[in-house]
Assembly symmetry: C2
C-alpha cells in the first residue's frame, strides 16, 4: 500500500455467525475482487482472530461511496450481511498521517 496522506480508510470489523460458511467464503472473495477493481482503490488488509478486521484504503470519499453502492447491490442479490454476521461495524476514516518501519514513504 503506497499512498501519501490524506487518503481514506474503511475499517470493517465483524463477528461471524455460524451459518453459511461456504457461501461466506465465496462472498468474501467476490467482495475483495470487486474492491480491487474499483477506481480509487489503494489497498486492503485483513485478519480474523475471533473478530475479523478488514481495512481498505481509498483515494476519496466519492470512490468509497461508489464501491459501497456496488457492494450493497451485490450483497442484496445474495443472503445479505445479516445472515453472515452476528454483528458488524463500518467506519469511514480520513488518514491524517502515517509512519512505520521500514520507512517506505518519506
Amino acid at each position: 500500500m503506497n499512498a501519501t496522506p490524506p487518503y481514506y480508510a474503511v475499517i470493517f470489523t465483524s463477528k461471524r455467525s455460524a451459518a453459511g460458511q461456504e457461501e461466506y467464503a465465496a462472498m468474501s472473495e467476490a467482495m475483495e475482487e470487486l474492491a480491487r477493481q474499483q477506481p480509487g482503490f489503494l489497498g486492503m488488509e485483513h485478519a480474523r482472530e475471533g473478530i475479523g478486521i478488514t481495512v481498505s484504503y481509498w483515494d476519496s470519499l466519492e470512490n468509497i461511496a461508489r464501491w459501497k453502492s456496488q457492494a450493497d447491490h451485490q450483497i442484496a442479490q445474495q443472503l445479505g450481511r445479516r445472515s453472515w454476521y452476528e454483528s458488524y461495524r463500518v467506519r469511514i476514516c480520513r488518514v491524517e498521517r502515517e509512519y512505520g518501519f521500514p520507512q517506505e514513504h518519506p
Copy 2:
C-alpha cells in the same frame, strides 16, 4: 466501543519477526494495558492472521500523542519495535462516520 464521530482511530498493522516470542507477548499485553489506562481511550480491537491489525480508538489527537510518547518511552526501555517486527505501519485517522448492525449508535 461506544462513541459518536468524529473521533480518532490508530490503525497499527504489522508483520512479526520470528525473534522474541515470549518477550513480545509480555510487551503486547503491557502495551494494551497502558492504552486502556490513558485519558481519551475509547476502545481497541485486534486480530492476527498472517499480518496483525490493531485498531485503537481515541477522543482526540492530543490524547493519541500523549499515549504515543508514553508507549515509545516504555518500548525504548525494552528491545524496541524493530526486533519484534519485520515491518509495521501506523496510521492516524479521523473517523468521519460509522454504521453497522445491530445499530448500536443511532
